[in-house]
Assembly symmetry: C2
């Protein structure tokens, strides 16, 4: 809601201050999560008054979503993942996510984002539009899924479940499985989910 460009007055800093608040928020939320991360603590980290944080961001959830936004260009990533052998699309999806998870800065950020999505509808909405629809569903459509929305949600449940067990609950043997083995092992799984092969064949199962 709060559009910094309109409401920002002649304060010291301007865009830089907003950027510094976002960096401080990313650091605090990555460490403490959405629930325990406080506007007060973020202001302290950024070296500004809490009122200035509230000037730029109308709510804690707006600040959280803005700070935790995945730092990549959607269209570019979708194009990169969609190109090439469709049978290796899951491999490319996994390579993309494993690289993010194992990054010391972006990893904690996306894990806290996913965690918060389980508790806060406005964060879930962001994950849904930005990651599931914005990336996974567009990839599913590109590789010919009959029902891209369903294929994307299904693949997301596998990939996000893996992220949660590996990086939040630290369940073995997933937690210590090297990234390249995870990519090789989950690649074919995600390919099947994304191309919708499972959804299409499901009715053939006796029930």
């Amino acid at each position: 809601m709060a559009t910094g460009a309109i409401r920002r007055g002649p304060r010291p800093g301007g865009t830089d201050t907003r950027t510094e608040i976002l960096a401080a928020a990313a650091a605090v939320f990555s460490k403490d999560g959405y629930q325990r991360g406080s506007v007060r603590g973020i202001a302290r980290e950024a070296g500004v008054d809490p009122a200035l944080v509230r000037h730029y961001f109308a709510s804690k959830s707006e600040l959280f979503v803005e700070a935790m936004r995945p730092p990549f260009d959607l269209t570019e990533q979708v194009a990169r993942i969609s190109e090439g052998d469709p049978q290796l699309v899951g491999h490319r999806v996994m390579a993309f996510f494993v690289e993010v998870w194992d990054d010391p800065v972006r990893g904690p950020r996306i894990i806290q984002l996913l965690r918060a999505a389980l508790d806060h509808p406005e964060v879930a909405e962001f994950v849904r539009t930005r990651i599931i629809e914005g990336v996974i569903e567009r990839v599913a459509a590109a590789v010919g899924a009959k029902d891209p929305a369903r294929a994307a949600a299904t693949a997301a449940s596998q990939v996000i479940g893996l992220a949660m067990l590996r990086h939040a609950a630290h369940i073995e043997p997933l937690a210590s499985e090297p990234g390249d083995e995870l990519i090789a092992r989950f690649g074919p799984i995600v390919t099947r989910l994304l191309t919708g092969a499972d959804g299409d064949s499901a009715p053939a199962q006796s029930t």
Copy 2:
């Protein structure tokens, strides 16, 4: 740690009081989750003094795990799920979980248990030993997985991810997909994960 049988003195209630505290804890934690559920609130719900709650349960995490314990006999469930056509094992696993998730009492309980496992190592340990090893890994072994621990963790990442997206983040179209369709659709997926077919074939993928 605290063994009620030894430490319980001549207090009014005895076993019944402990049972009532557990019922109150299950109700409060199912509604509010681990973090926000308080010993004080549980005592109020049970109509007892908070000190009495602490008499029976040494810590909040002990009370949580005890109250949220899945109310089924492990050995019986494992036998029931393992029996029959191995190609339909994922179908039986999904039928078991979907029934729990869609139950008005047991559903919120297991969802809060899984949520808490992402934040609290002692709850993660409970989920690992009780659900992943205690049920899924034994089923994987029964249907001939070469590496039952890995197959179980992989299947768990799919099933728990689905539970989190459907019941915590409420991601569509999963959230409103009827239980029987979920079972039919995810049954074959979970069968492949449990029998270890994916893990065995992974090295054949070009990387």
